[in-house]
Subunit: 187 residues, 2 copies
């Protein structure tokens, strides 16, 4: 396929996964699947409310896209708030915590799927996030920094597996993190 | 309006204007309008071929948007080639040369219009381009650098009127410019 025949589009990519999923499944499969299903459903609802679309959600992963990266980051913050509330109802060892990465990519669209290094980078950002946290790329940060009321912290350049260049990573400081930004430790 | 009620989207913004338009108009109004109309028509056709849309085209300006910034930069190069060909038919003092700027923005969409600093920055980039040239932002460059066969040259940080931060500007080296990149002078 030549570049010209590809249908491309700029999109905001939202990638989420569960931290410690294997441990949770090892401890209690049925309870983990139950929580995962209900959390994914809540996340999907919030994604729709922010005009996003779930592209794929295999296992403990969820990939979504948004026309706007402002919407994507706003949604990611609301997802983490919502899931933190829900986790309060669960015993410590059953709490299910997601990490989220947000990036911008000029991706290739084929039917309902999206392809491109922008998607891989979103997954890499997600893996750099704290439990219950959000990491975004510089490309995403540059678009949202003056448009959203959140604080961000530059995490420096990070190397990603199979990614050509170091990623410049920003962490979204969610609520309580702002108060203690000076002596911040992961949740 | 609150942030939540705004419809936002990531878009590639293409901004073009005629260099020395006032001089051309002062020399020969009728001929200038004739050329301008025909050049804008050719540009609009190429924009459509690259899945873009003309948003507005007042006077010697043309603002277009593309879902993909790869498409936008590819289109900008083809526009400059096409207009360079057409200019060969015109006497020197009647040649009409466009400058083009390309940027990415998370813009607000209202009906067919788009608003946001991403649009202002595209216009600023355009004003930094050489005659018949193309300047793109770092945000655009980061998305296209591995996806298009063009060479780019970093022009450093440039200050823009009413723009909060210095712009990191890249020039697209079009064809002949590549051969002479070492001793490059504007066309």
């Amino acid at each position: 396929m030549t570049e010209k025949s590809l249908i491309r589009k700029l999109t905001a990519i939202f990638s989420a996964d569960v931290e410690g999923y294997s441990r949770l499944m090892g401890d209690d499969e049925a309870a983990t699947i139950h929580t995962l299903t209900s959390y994914k459903k809540a996340m999907t609802e919030l994604i729709k409310q922010h005009r996003g679309r779930v592209v794929d959600a295999p296992g403990d992963n969820l990939l979504a896209e948004f026309a706007s990266v402002v919407d994507a980051v706003q949604c990611a913050v609301e997802v983490q708030h919502e899931l933190a509330e829900r986790n309060k109802e669960l015993p410590n060892k059953r709490k299910m915590v997601f990490r989220i990465g947000v990036n911008i990519g000029d991706v290739v669209q084929e039917n309902d799927r999206i392809y491109g290094d922008g998607v891989n980078i979103a997954a890499r950002l997600e893996s750099m996030a704290d439990s219950g946290g959000i990491c975004i790329s510089r490309a995403a940060y540059d678009q949202v920094k003056y448009k959203l009321p959140f604080e961000f912290r530059y995490e420096g350049e990070q190397l990603g597996k199979n990614i050509k260049e170091p990623l410049r990573v920003y962490k979204v400081l969610i609520d309580s993190e702002i108060d203690k930004a000076s002596d911040y430790t992961p949740l």
